[in-house]
């Protein structure tokens, strides 16, 4: 039962990542990210219940609080303030991107086969999903031109990391958890501030234009 839940929600995260790849509207992308984080939280809680690791409840709580509520809200606010709502044409069009992401998923899964011996089925899947998620997130960063989307992609990568943390480890020490979460928030804030400065300066969120420093 728990295994199914885990695998399902993990798969859900992957799907949400795929949707982000296919998506151009910024709000939707942000919401997708929120959804993804929610699924992450579910994974955490499930783990907490099944392996009776109470501290994972905290992780879940943090995830929900920050990643499904705070960060999306902050980002939407930023988007509103800037008033640009659609992603401009990425470097790769959607179909090709999706194909590439499929390839990346394969890579992720191929690697996760290394866990078969010793660890149980679930771990294998979680790692596979997590690595695929990581690579897809990175791929998004590579192909998307909007600052906001890049932030979202980065956060997706972060989610992947947390998925591993939650799914595979017996939970990091709490203080470290807090520290990391805090840092992530800080990073997002700083990123947000920079985005606003950039927009204020260039009247655009298209970071592909930031290419004056060569050689």
């Amino acid at each position: 039962m728990t295994a199914n839940v885990l695998i399902l929600s993990a798969a859900g995260m992957l799907v949400s990542a795929y949707l982000m790849v296919g998506q151009k509207a910024l709000f939707t992308t942000i919401r997708l990210y929120g959804l993804q984080s929610l699924l992450l939280a579910i994974v955490a809680t499930t783990m907490a219940v099944s392996e009776s690791r109470p501290e994972l409840f905290v992780t879940a709580a943090l995830t929900v609080a920050f990643k499904t509520i705070l960060i999306p809200w902050f980002l939407m606010r930023t988007v509103d303030r800037i008033g640009i709502h659609r992603e401009i044409e990425p470097f790769l069009n959607v179909p090709v991107s999706l194909l590439v992401c499929l390839g990346l998923t394969v890579v992720g899964y191929r690697v996760s086969t290394g866990f078969e011996e010793g660890a149980q089925q679930v771990t294998h899947h979680l790692i596979g999903v997590a690595l695929s998620l990581l690579l897809i997130g990175l791929f998004l960063m590579v192909t998307r031109k909007k600052a906001i989307t890049q932030i979202l992609a980065l956060l997706t990568v972060e989610n992947a990391v947390f998925l591993v943390a939650v799914g595979v480890t017996t939970g990091m020490p709490l203080i470290v958890e807090f520290g990391i979460a805090f840092d992530v928030i800080l990073a997002v804030l700083v990123l947000g501030i920079l985005v606003q400065r950039i927009v204020g300066r260039f009247e655009s969120m298209d970071v592909s234009r930031l290419s004056n420093l060569k050689g």
């Binding site: 690697v111 290394g114 866990f115 010793g118 990581l134 990175l138 960063m141 600052a147 890049q150 980065l154 990568v157 972060e158 992947a160 990391v161 591993v164 943390a165 595979v168 480890t169 017996t170 990091m172 020490p173 203080i175 470290v176 520290g179 990391i180 840092d183 800080l186 990073a187 700083v190 990123l191 920079l194 400065r197 950039i198 300066r201 260039f202 970071v207 930031l210 290419s211 004056n212 420093l213 050689g215």
Partner: protein, 495 residues
């Protein structure tokens, strides 16, 4: 309260005070005094370690062994240097009315904060804490990069932050996986992430998970260290950040990141055998040296030039560790030391030249700076001679150690390539510097009149640093040597 904590608290306080308002002399005094005190405390800590103790705090989450002590001292040193130089730097800008109160606050707040973060990195024994500390350095340096608030500085900051955060995400994943590889054997609670704990249980670590973790951690921390191909943020950041901050990046940040890389490397070495991570380090190191070469040849900006030199040097250190010979490891750590002593000289003199001409682009600075700024130019030439590893200066000896180990070791071909790259790099630097320093005095028609060279506090710092760098080639104080040996023992003897 324990010494190590003081070492960390003092810069933090300095940052806090500097970040608030206050008259300039007061700020300057705080910064100089605070950083001097920090350096002193670093020395004291190192001394305590050499005395046989192991300074530690927070249940060993912070713990100073040979490696930490070395990095700690070097960070403290450059912290002090850049603090003092920074005062001169800001004064110069203020003399030309370029400094707003925001800038002042940022400057006096962020520089000590940056130093604090680096010290935290180098003292951390807990992989989690280590990660957090590195993240802090990133956050502290972003606003130093945007200090001048030019279009390009925003661009540089954005690239720095995005790449940095990505790297950190990778590093975090690496940490998590490394942690995961020790399921069960590591135990519960804070101590579970202690590096020392890992070293105790290395045999039980799950090999594949560990491999995966090591790869991600190396990419992650490699990004911060500026190993190719994750080095791309470096030139931009160096160009945009004010020279004092650049010094912290080029030495403190570099050493700190390398410190993290080494910690991970040691775990993997103890558990998976040397080949795995040494192979990775050697490859990335060689790649970095090779990548740096062409860009030095075609460089157009003095600070980017030095950025590529940092990429080269971190590459050399990685190669030294990757060659997998005690002599080479010693060479690498010696290289780290000498590089930390030499790089500030280069950056200070280059920064001065750039400031005098109010641009760091070669075409703006023009030729024949010898005639305009003899002292700065002379120091810069000297610094270049040092950082290109010409005898009789220190880096030559460390490079020779690495080369010798390489040729007698199992990677002669790689070493030969490395040597060739070094030669080309020298030629590149010789060309760039000669082009800059020599040549006819600028034509009077040129309306961009440079500032006259004045022997202010910044220049004094540069000269002092130069003297130290030169003397160090012939004489390193015994305690420092002891530290380097201890560090070698950690990295080679494993624990």
């Amino acid at each position: 309260m324990n010494l190590l904590l003081w070492t960390l608290v003092v810069p933090l306080l300095t940052a806090a005070i500097g970040g608030l308002g206050g008259p300039r002399p007061f700020k300057e005094a705080t910064m100089a005094g605070g950083l001097a005190l920090t350096f002193a405390l670093c020395l004291a800590t190192a001394n305590q370690f050499l005395g046989g103790g192991t300074p530690a705090a927070f249940a060993d989450a912070l713990r100073v062994d040979g490696l930490s002590a070395l990095v700690l001292v070097l960070c403290g040193f450059v912290g002090l240097l850049s603090g003092v130089y920074g005062i001169g730097y800001l004064r110069r800008n203020e003399a030309r009315g370029l400094v707003t109160s925001r800038m002042r606050r940022e400057f006096y707040g962020l520089i000590p904060a940056y130093v604090f973060a680096m010290l935290l990195v180098s003292a951390s024994n807990n992989l989690g804490v280590m990660w957090i500390a590195v993240e802090l350095t990133t956050l502290a340096s972003v606003f130093l990069i945007t200090f001048h608030d030019r279009d390009t500085s925003l661009e540089a900051a954005w690239k720095f932050l995005v790449l940095g955060s990505l790297g950190l995400a990778f590093a975090l994943l690496g940490t998590v996986l490394v942690f995961a590889s020790g399921q069960g054997s590591l135990g519960e609670g804070m101590g579970a992430l202690h590096w020392t704990r890992f070293m105790q249980v290395t045999p039980e670590l799950h090999p594949f998970t560990l491999r995966l973790g090591v790869v991600f951690a190396l990419i992650g921390y490699g990004t911060k260290a500026g190993l190719a191909p994750m080095h791309t943020w470096k030139p931009d950041a160096y160009r945009e950040a004010p020279s004092p901050a650049v010094v912290l990046m080029a030495v403190g940040m570099l050493n700190g990141a390398l410190y993290c890389v080494l910690r991970i490397h040691l775990i993997s070495k103890a558990s998976l055998g040397p080949e795995f991570s040494e192979g990775l380090l050697l490859t990335l190191g060689l790649l970095s040296v090779l990548i740096a070469t062409p860009f030095v040849l075609i460089q157009w900006n003095i600070k980017r030039l030095l950025a590529y030199s940092s990429i080269e040097h971190v590459g050399i250190m990685a190669i030294g560790v990757g060659l997998g010979a005690q002599a080479a490891v010693f060479g690498a750590l010696l290289h780290m030391t000498y590089h930390s002593l030499a790089k500030p000289v280069a950056l200070f003199s280059a920064g001065t030249l750039a400031q005098l001409h109010s641009s760091s682009n070669f075409d703006r600075i023009g030729q024949g700076t010898f005639t305009r700024a003899p002292v700065a130019s002379a120091v810069f030439v000297l610094a270049t001679a040092i950082i290109t590893g010409s005898p009789p200066f220190g880096l030559f000896f460390s490079e020779i150690l690495i080369l010798r180990a390489g040729f007698s070791g199992s990677h002669p071909t790689a070493t030969a390539v490395f040597l060739a790259a070094l030669i080309v790099l020298f030629c590149g630097f010789a060309y760039q510097v000669g082009h800059l320093v020599l040549g006819p005095p600028r034509d009077p028609a040129d309306r961009r009149v440079p500032q006259p060279e004045r022997f202010d506090i910044g220049m004094a710092t540069a000269v002092a640093a130069a003297v130290i760098a030169v003397v160090s080639a012939f004489y390193l104080p015994a305690p420092l040597m002891a530290l380097i040996r201890a560090a070698t023992h950690v990295v080679w003897g494993g624990g």
